[in-house]
Symmetry: C2
Subunit: 111 residues, 2 copies
DNA sequence: CCTTAATATACACTTAAACATATATACGTG
DNA sequence: CACGTATATATGTTTAAGTGTATATTAAGG
């Protein structure tokens, strides 16, 4: 759950096509061909994106005959889920952060 | 909460320096100079990243004299938090997705 | 084995985006 | 209004990453 790993995960799934692959795989495992047909890019591109997703541990693949079935791994999403949870202070806190900041600035100016 | 907007938010905060800015601002509002000193990049770069963060609605700025104080907006993070919550099926579900998929495949082969 | 289907890799090309540097703007203060 | 501080913008350059096309690999079936 270190931030470097999370940052890499973030960068990886931020790419539009990989984002779409992730959204598709959320519904369940899919073969490469199924992914190709769902997206609007070529097969080599899909394979390449799957490799990147695989190398960062976001997906895994299992072999079923001549097909490879890709599915999402839980861990990276669990980490990101936890990270985004930590931002809940933004909408849960009553007091205005900006005011806090101003008070702090003024205090420093005083001395 | 449409996925296109979220995708843009994702892409925006995935960039390493902007990721760092976001992590810093999570602690509270900061002036541009404070951000420059916290990060290891030049002032023009910080201003540029802040502009991008601003244009995508991730931060807002308020003017305090000659300084501009940047702070995080809640909405984009709320959206992403909700999105990542939706992945909890990955670690909450008992049954193995792969097995499901296989059963489905076999069913199709039957007919 | 030979062929086909499914998937992966190699490579040249293009482009988006970050960076460094220089310069502009805006505001406060004497 | 002149000067310093804080921040923003403009521009040329570099580089990372996606794309398209061609080709390689792997497995199944006759």
């Amino acid at each position: 759950m270190n931030t470097t790993t999370m940052q890499i995960t973030l960068q990886t799934i931020a790419e539009p096509n990989r984002f779409n692959i992730v959204e598709l795989l959320k519904k369940g495992p899919r073969s490469v061909n199924e992914i190709v047909m769902a997206l609007n890019i070529g097969q080599p591109q899909v394979s390449r994106h799957l490799r990147i997703l695989s190398e960062t541990g976001i997906v895994r693949s299992r072999t079923k005959g001549q097909m490879r079935i890709y599915s999402l791994e839980a861990q990276p999403f669990q980490d990101l889920d936890a990270w985004f949870d930590s931002f809940s202070v933004l909408w849960e806190e009553r007091l205005d952060n900006f005011e806090d900041y101003m008070i702090d600035i003024l205090r420093k100016e005083d001395k």
